[in-house]
Amino acid sequence: MTANIEVNGAPRALEVDPGETLLDALRAAGFKGVKRGCENGTCGSCVVLLDGVPHFSCLLLAAALDGRKVTTIEGLGTPDAPHPIMRAFAEEAGVQCGYCTPGMVLSAKALLDAGPRPTEAEVREAFDGHLCRCTGYVKQVQAVLRAAAELGNTGTGTGSGTGERTGGAR
């Protein structure tokens, strides 16, 4: 059956099996930034924004979403024109293997869209539902705080150096 879904601002008529998840439908349509990690709504690597709100695409049936708006990572930016959150993830070393990154960037976007200057605790809360096995989450949280600052045009510097170095924060 057909699911008329707006993906990243462009209307699409997705031909789907009625039992097909949005994850499978999006990947079949070429949106490979949506990742398959657990297929039971726990790891967050398949997160997309549904009308601006983070959802696990593995728990949504595509056919049920007729008329809804979906944002995938491809709708946010490209390596040449990255979204400020993507850039902050890259600058703050918030990307290791990168498999969880698109989902986390999208949840961060929903957070910053809702309120421009979240606290660190709010960023951590926004990532509840995303599992990352590489990083320990410190750098992603810093990345979102940095992106928030940049989006608010206040700017922060980041250090790099070779001396004794203390990082990490909560």
């Binding site: 059956m1 039971n40 959802h55 728990l59 056919a63 049920a64 926004a126």
Partner: protein, 284 residues
């Protein structure tokens, strides 16, 4: 992928109920999707997606709160933030933050797992459940009837849960829900919801419900009776002891039966203390 023969997207409750009636036993309502999307193999369902059937309103009426069955945990946690209760506590700790954008109060009540959070709170709060079926038929079940067994067995074929009704809190009352889990976002190893009514520092009545330990939510009548008519601080230890002994528990990888019974006792204390604090703040 779940095996689905057809998926319908009704635009109204009546349309949804007609579809439910038409497909009978094969009809499967789709709420938050956590159960349907995870189904594998087995029967080929006809899915009735309820997202646009107009069931997600949260309305404050003179007799209490009417919560549409499709209200998400995220909406509940936000919508009830101003008046903390066992329900807002529970809605805020169902799964993870992203999952709470999916999980609906109706879905969480219709398919009950041992670890489900909202049914525990709703039993403590004396909720009732509004069921509808085609042809304008409605019935309202009190919580003890709705949760007497797995609700799918209580509900007739073609029947939908459309709203959860919460009585307005009595003056001098307060409620709370507490949960112990292995880590954030995990299902409950044990949980307790408490509702108390105070009268000048004396517990006039209490209702205690345990979840997460075994099967359906369990009403802790003995522990509640131990509190009634007492100053809570003086009776809490006894209530916890009674709760431990009356609750039925099981062992799995979330904890052993004996420890779970003990934790229910601890959580009774925690939940009752918070409920009393809230009651006092509400002017008890």
């Amino acid at each position: 992928m779940p095996e689905v023969e057809a998926l319908h997207r009704p635009r109204s409750l009546d349309e949804a109920l007609d579809l439910m009636a038409q497909h009978g036993e094969r009809a499967r309502p789709l709420a938050g999707g956590t159960t349907v999307a995870l189904a594998r193999g087995g029967r080929r369902d006809v899915v009735v997606a309820l997202a646009r059937a107009g069931l997600d309103a949260i309305e404050q009426g003179p007799d209490g709160l009417r919560i549409g069955a499709m209200a998400s945990c995220a909406a509940l946690a936000k919508g009830l933030a101003g008046s903390p209760s066992a329900l807002s506590d529970a809605a805020a700790v169902v799964g993870t933050r992203v999952l709470r954008n999916h999980v609906t109060i109706g879905g969480n009540c219709c398919v009950v797992y041992a670890w489900s959070d909202l049914p525990v709170a709703l039993r403590a709060l004396g909720a009732s459940f509004e069921l509808a079926s085609a042809g304008g038929r409605r019935r309202v079940l009190p919580e003890e009837a709705f949760f007497a067994q797995q609700p799918s067995r209580v509900m007739a074929a073609g029947e939908l849960l459309v709203a959860i009704l919460l009585p307005a809190p009595a003056p001098g009352s307060g409620s709370a829900f507490v949960k112990l889990a292995r880590n954030a976002g995990d299902h409950a190893s044990a949980s307790v919801a408490a509702r108390v009514e105070l009268d000048g520092g004396i517990v006039r009545s209490a209702r205690l419900v345990a979840g997460g330990v075994k099967g359906m939510p369990q009403v802790l009548a003995g522990a509640a009776a131990a509190l009634a008519g007492c100053r809570a601080e003086e009776a809490l230890e006894e209530a916890a002891r009674v709760a431990e002994s009356e609750v039925d528990s099981t062992s799995d990888f979330r904890g052993g039966a004996e420890w779970r019974k003990h934790v229910v006792g601890v959580l009774v204390g925690d939940a009752v203390r918070t409920a009393i604090d809230r009651a006092i703040r509400m002017g008890a």
